[in-house]
Amino acid sequence: MELGPYLVLATLEGAVTAAVLALTAVGLSLVFGVMRVVNIAHGEFFMLGAVLAWWIAQSVVEHPAIGFALALVAAPLIVGALAVAADMTILKRLDYDPERTIVATIGLLYIIQQVTLMGYGPDARPVEAPFNTRLALPWFEHGAEGWQMIWPWGLGTTSYKLAVIGAAVALLCAVWALMARTRIGLVMRATQADREMALAFGIPVERVYAGVFGLGAALAALAGVLIVPIQQAHYLMGADPLLLSFIVVIIGGLGSLPGTVLAAVLIGLSDGIISVFFSPTLAKILATLLVGLVLVFRPQGLFGARGA
């Protein structure tokens, strides 16, 4: 295959990574933006989504699409409820202190990981995609007879991967609409702007925090469910999304949702392209280097407000 089609293939793979990463990172950014809590356990909510998807899918014996659809609804709800419980029993007791909550969420990370290991085991397990049609992609070449459409071998994707990209875009639009167009979003933005003034205007800040922590975890779980037919469910699979989400959130600007999405697209696409042409390790090295440069030259992130 020539460079052009190869680049298209890499971009498509990167777009899938970007879509899942944007969902995960928006959850992390939302939690940091509104609550000022750096949630180290965020990757474990992603992992729990994937593991629950496997558990639900294998419990439903009918068509794989039914099990997957059920997982898509139930896993985020279960993980969200778990996060709300963690907020009310742990973070609230620490008065959402930024330093102490970092230590608390590290503890939460290990608890979730080890409980999953005990209950689910150390194996990586696949979940069947609800649909997975192979889609060949055309390429255009200029030859002696002018422009020609050809079908290079290996240039293609699957219907499921395209659906993941579509679902992520729809969910991100829903999050944007929630924040920008609803009363719940207005309350969340007011709490983010000034917690004390939010209280002084009747906003039950602790309930808002619980809801935001649950929503952030549910988004990560949704991303986990979406990725599990492509990448198997494993109890250690939360580490990579956590690292990449932090990279994305720092580059995009802590608490900035548009910045987070744009940075996810940047990191996801570069990860896909560099992984295909060179190696996944080099992609991670370059992303981490980019974070270092952003922290040195623009600590508020590419799209964050100074002092945020």
Partner: protein, 231 residues
């Protein structure tokens, strides 16, 4: 209406208010005077439940305000205009007002009534709060608090840093609120403004209550101002 009964409050180990008692009646403007650090702003924050009480009780009519969680205090009918305005800077004027309306589930008629007091804000509804001038921001801070339909309004230095025309406009609104029966607790540094507006004046010294007198008595005894405020 609003009664502070021997309240003590502070931040961690630092106690700022000690056995402070005060009362503001409906349709009255009570002004708190005192040096910087005397506890004027802390008194307001304590009423709003933003600073925990060590002892004492705060009453709003027959309701023990000090037993409520902080977010229930505005719902009980206490509006707060903090020092420095502290608007939701990234939200529009309309959204700031919406936050005020939500606490007591007030409808658009309350917003319309509030906007009649601040007609200039009507032209700025779609503008972000951070883009307003200082005077407009102060108007918005007051309008946001009035959207709560408060029985008691706490005003912490509402004319700080404003030009004279704006100060006059704010003064007119405060007088209008008094006429509407709202109890106003006002912190103000400018003694001439205090004498112009207040029905009674309460002095604070090191977090404790000092003399309480009418504005007329204070005019006749300006030496008290030197003693408590040092100007």
């Amino acid at each position: 209406m609003l009664r502070l009964d021997r309240i003590s409050a502070g931040y961690g180990r630092a106690q700022v208010l000690r056995d402070l008692s005060l009362e503001v009646k409906p349709g009255e403007i009570l002004c708190l005077l005192g040096r910087n650090g005397a506890g004027k702003s802390t008194t307001m924050r304590a009423i709003m439940g933003l600073v925990p009480l060590v002892s004492g009780t705060i009453w709003l009519g027959d309701e023990r305000l000090s037993d409520l969680p902080a977010h229930e205090v505005p719902r009980a009918g206490v509006g707060y205009v903090p020092q420095g305005r502290r608007l939701f800077a990234d939200l529009t004027v309309a959204q700031n007002l919406e936050i005020g309306l939500m606490a007591r589930q007030s409808g658009p008629e309350v917003r319309a009534e509030v906007l009649t007091r601040f007609p200039r804000l009507r032209e700025r509804l779609g503008q972000k709060a951070q883009t307003l001038s200082g005077g407009e921001q102060q108007m918005l801070a007051m309008a946001r608090a009035l959207c709560l339909r408060p029985q008691v309004l706490l005003l912490d230095e509402p004319t700080e840093g404003l030009q004279p025309s704006m100060i006059a406009a704010i003064r007119d609104v405060i007088v209008g609120l008094r006429e509407a029966g709202v109890a106003v607790l006002l912190v103000e540094q400018r003694v001439d403004a205090v004498l112009d507006l207040a029905d009674r004046v309460a002095f604070l010294e090191n977090g404790s209550g000092g003399a309480v007198m009418t504005a007329d008595d204070l005019r006749a005894n300006r030496s008290l101002v030197d003693r408590y405020v040092g100007v």
